[in-house]
């Protein structure tokens, strides 16, 4: 799991970073005369704080999910056994595989639709002659500020009338509209970074504008498209408000986040900590692995969409 993130694997990837990062490394060496052992220890301690902050709660989650029996689960001590995989057996016995499948289906549909139409719009806004581009971009920005909850009362009534409650399209259609603004921002940034000379050359060679986009620009922007796709996919697996409102109970549509939120024990108000933590681990592990593998793409996408706005 740690393979893709070792510092050695990271070193050759530095190229796409702004040239200051190697500069920083160099300066750390340059000032190392003044850089006492004390400050090195202080820096290490501060880095450890970040590691503990990010990882400790997840370690606690795993340890709790592996506890067996009410006595161990009711003990605040993380290391109080007995340990085993009973909770995981219960989770999968309750049909959690269906929830995972539903999340996968909804997230995949959202990603494909959103990235496809977002790539078209992103290219048009970045490179094609379009009147009032600034106005279009402000429109996208305004749409990204919409509170999802404001769409819910009306969509609920419309979905009820159309029979879209408790269906996959009932979920991924609104997801597409929520993720589209960010997707467009990310892709505008990536399309703008491709040298316009390449498109010009394709045009001179007799390519139609569509061929130029599809054959020349899109392959070059593939890393950006991929970054946008991962971020949209993660958003869709994360979503809860729409999922729990439009598909609250039906196991054939209910997503994993809704299932985790509504797990109950013997009574409605009891929260079975063992099965809940086990389900949380089951959802998180694939997402974390995906993040570790694609971390560079994700960071590039997030900063393209966020910092450059």
């Amino acid at each position: 799991m740690s393979e893709p993130v070792t510092p050695t694997a990271e070193a050759p990837q530095r190229d796409d970073q702004p040239s200051t990062s190697p500069g920083n490394g160099g300066s750390a060496g340059a000032v190392s005369g003044a850089d006492s052992t004390g400050s090195r220890i202080a820096k290490t301690v501060m880095l450890l704080i970040i590691f503990v902050w990010c990882l400790f709660p997840f370690v606690w989650l795993i340890s709790t999910s592996l506890k067996q029996g009410n006595e161990a689960l009711g003990d605040p001590n993380m290391f109080q056994g007995p340990f085993g995989i009973d909770n995981y057996r219960i989770v999968f016995g309750e049909g959690f595989l269906y929830n995972l499948r539903n999340t996968l289906v909804v997230a995949t549909f959202t990603t494909i639709i959103c990235v496809l139409i977002g790539a078209f719009a992103g290219y048009a806004l970045a490179r094609l002659p379009l009147k009032r581009k600034a106005l279009w971009l402000s429109g996208v920005l305004a749409a990204s500020l919409f509170p999802p909850v404001a769409l819910i009362p009306a969509l609920y009534e419309v979905w009820r009338a159309l029979g879209l409650l408790n269906t996959y399209p009932g979920l991924y259609i609104p997801y597409v509209s929520f993720t589209l603004p960010l997707t467009i921002f990310i892709l505008v940034t990536f399309f703008s970074s491709i040298p316009p000379e390449l498109a010009e050359a394709a045009k001179v060679d007799g390519a139609t504008p569509f061929q130029t986009f599809f054959r020349v620009v899109l392959p070059l922007a593939a890393p950006g498209v991929f970054a946008a796709a991962i971020i949209v996919f993660i958003f869709a697996t994360n979503e809860f408000l729409i999922a729990s409102t439009f598909a609250p109970r039906d196991l054939s549509v209910q997503t994993a986040t809704t299932a985790v939120a509504f797990f109950t024990g013997a009574t409605e108000f009891e929260r079975p900590i063992g099965t809940i933590t086990a389900a949380c681990v089951v959802i998180s592990v694939p997402l974390i692995i995906m993040t570790l593998i694609f971390q560079r793409r994700i960071v590039a996408g997030l900063t393209a969409g966020g910092v450059k706005g």
Binding site: P4, T20, F58, A143, Y156, V260, I276, M290, T291, G309
Partner: protein, 308 residues
């Protein structure tokens, strides 16, 4: 794909006069169309339809007649509405403040890190990628009396202290869960900004005898301002929309009912499309209003930043 196969056929005629296929101008319009249609149908239309719904009275899900502004009057005179406005703003101010203080600290540490930059950048994405519902369940179970992990770790806290069942402390737990998840994300955005600041500027400041704090205030902060403002805009608007954490951790009890939780209550639990739509329209105005104020401030600052 459909566009590719269709358009060369239908656009054969104008092709002779200009280039082959669609002109760039036509292609631009075809390319923005799907996004515009989606946003109009799934974002703009529901907002307008909600305004329409909010003008009608309902009994359960049955429409009982035109209400005019009745639902809005009911909303404004309902203390529950004002409580959720307060809860939403308390949550937003507290979580965004701590996310930026901690996120800035993390970003500065990571920028100065002399080893394991790749590892730490991957680590910092983990809280971000764990779904909010899951971090909500995680922190619920850590704060909860049984097994009482937080109570057992903190000194001076009685073992039976009920964080999630006490006014103010329930909000504290929710803010804490949000800061845990989002401070690393803010750090990531700020780190990207920090890495664009040329090292020479720090060298120059060092030569001039500026202390670390002076360097931070007169080099880092001004140059990082655009990145800070953009991150602040998105974080603030996101915090105003908060739903998952209170919905899962407290169900909106003990002063943690935010506007999103309030609206959701009127769709499923106690259905009233009229009053619910009035609440949702007001939420929309509040969130978008804050967003617009931010963008107008931001626009000016970004321009000033470029002129300097």
């Amino acid at each position: 794909m459909a566009v590719e196969t269709e358009t060369p056929v239908t656009e054969r005629q104008p092709e002779e006069s200009q280039h082959k296929g669609m002109s760039e101008r036509q292609l631009a319009r075809v390319f923005v169309a799907p996004s515009v249609i989606t946003m109009v149908v799934v974002a703009a239309f529901p907002i307008i339809f909600a305004i329409f719904l909010s003008l009608y009275a309902y009994q359960g899900r049955q429409q009982t007649g035109f209400a005019g502004l009745g639902n809005y009057i009911e909303a404004f005179t309902d203390p529950r509405f004002w409580d959720s406005v307060i809860a939403t703003f308390v949550f937003t101010v507290a979580s965004v403040t701590f996310e930026f203080l901690i996120g800035m600290g993390f970003a500065l540490i990571m920028n100065r890190a002399f080893f394991g930059r790749g590892v730490i950048r991957a680590t910092i994405l983990i809280p971000w990628v764990i779904p909010t519902v899951i971090s909500a369940q995680m922190w619920f179970n850590m704060f909860n009396i049984t097994p009482g992990f937080v109570n057992s770790v903190l000194p001076f806290v009685p073992a039976d202290f009920n964080w999630l069942g006490t006014e103010n402390w329930a909000m504290f737990a929710i803010v804490f869960a949000d800061v845990w998840k989002t401070a690393p994300f803010v750090a990531l955005l700020l780190l990207a900004g920090l890495q664009t600041i040329p090292e020479d500027l720090y060298e120059a400041a060092r030569v001039d005898g500026a202390s670390a704090i002076q360097r931070f205030r007169s080099v880092t902060l001004p140059l990082l301002k655009p990145a800070i403002l953009v991150a602040l805009l998105f974080r603030t608007v996101d915090a105003l929309r908060i739903y998952d954490l209170p919905a899962v951790m407290t169900g909106g009890a003990f002063g943690t009912e935010t506007l999103s939780v309030l609206v959701q209550q009127f769709i499923v639990q106690t259905p009233d499309p009229g009053l619910g739509s009035a609440f949702s329209t007001l939420t929309f105005i509040v969130v978008l209003g804050v967003g617009i104020v931010f963008v107008s401030l931001l626009g000016r600052d970004l321009v000033i930043g470029e002129e300097e």
